[in-house]
Symmetry: C2
Subunit: 236 residues, 2 copies
Amino acid sequence: MIQHTVRMFDTELRALERQVAQMGHLAGDQIVRSVDALVAKDRELARSVIAGDEAIDHLQQEIDEKAVALIARRQPMAADLREIIGAIRIANDLERVGDLAESIAKRVLLIVDSFALDEPIRQMRRMVELVLEQVRSVLQSYEARDVAAAMEVWRKDREVDALNSSLFRELLTYMMEDMRSISYCAHLLFCIKNVERIGDHATNIAETVHYIVKGQPLLEERPKVDLTSEVMTPQA
Amino acid sequence: MIQHTVRMFDTELRALERQVAQMGHLAGDQIVRSVDALVAKDRELARSVIAGDEAIDHLQQEIDEKAVALIARRQPMAADLREIIGAIRIANDLERVGDLAESIAKRVLLIVDSFALDEPIRQMRRMVELVLEQVRSVLQSYEARDVAAAMEVWRKDREVDALNSSLFRELLTYMMEDMRSISYCAHLLFCIKNVERIGDHATNIAETVHYIVKGQPLLEERPKVDLTSEVMTPQA
């Protein structure tokens, strides 16, 4: 009977995990599609990204409810409890990743008709590829409970921050060179910041993987460096 | 003996709650000080805000650890479990409020010497006052377990969004009128967005108060409307 209960609990835990993985896939797709919509100025695609956010929100709510019910019913200890708390945290980060992709799609609708520049978009794509890779790697590290792989993601966030800072500087230059680009570039600044924030959520998830496996929070300082502090402001 | 255990548990729950309230006070102070630093271009104050974030982070970590230990040790059911999960969630939101104030302070260091404009700063102050009021009200609603008051905060987030959108438009105009203001205004755009996001966290906390008291998530649509969609982009 106890064996049976233990097996049941394990099945429930695995189901929770699978739902988190499913959320991860959806969130990854939303990132790709939101940036495709931005690059192609595709209004329809942007609308479909906006509509697609609901599925992610629902999944998070489901995971949250199941997780809390599981704690109440099974009263798990130590490692099992960490698995459940970890699922809640990762789902929370993925929900926000979805929001950030949705927010990019909303900005596509605002700039679809405006004066646009190709070069910053091209560079943004590189940053998005790096961030997408971070999101996928950290989800794999979660599935494999691989702390070393998670820490690799955690450390790599510096590169994302560096790209963000360099793009920030470049966009300011574009704005100064051509007044017509100001509104477009201002929206793009926020899109790029959103991509950087998606990277931060990958970093959060890496910390959660560490917590699940090791049983304690990561105490090293976050790799975050504010490289925009190198931004030179034009002399007044 | 059981009575004794119940009383102990209650004491532990109240201690957790007090720590969340303490985090709320610290986060509120950080908001005020970061914006004071921005208005006064006060480098020292900005640095002290940046240094002050650590105390908030530590408190969150402590709350998280205590909460998880409490679940493992006491195996609480229903309402008590919701109290603990609620404390974790609110601490999570307050930690991010602290990060957003810190991020404003970091930008103060970047723009302290640049060409500045008084008018947008004056308007930003109004928005900050509203958001601060939201944060304080929602923390009071948490202390009083007052769902009606929490919902009031939840609904009022629309006003914050409206101010954000109108300031966004205005800053674009300033940028177009005077090229020297571009870098300054770009940083200010992000400061204002941070204030708006602090408002979103107050809204999240309102949803958590609802969850703690009512036992289920709020299913109404978020009051969020993207008013920046009214932004007109200049004709190319």
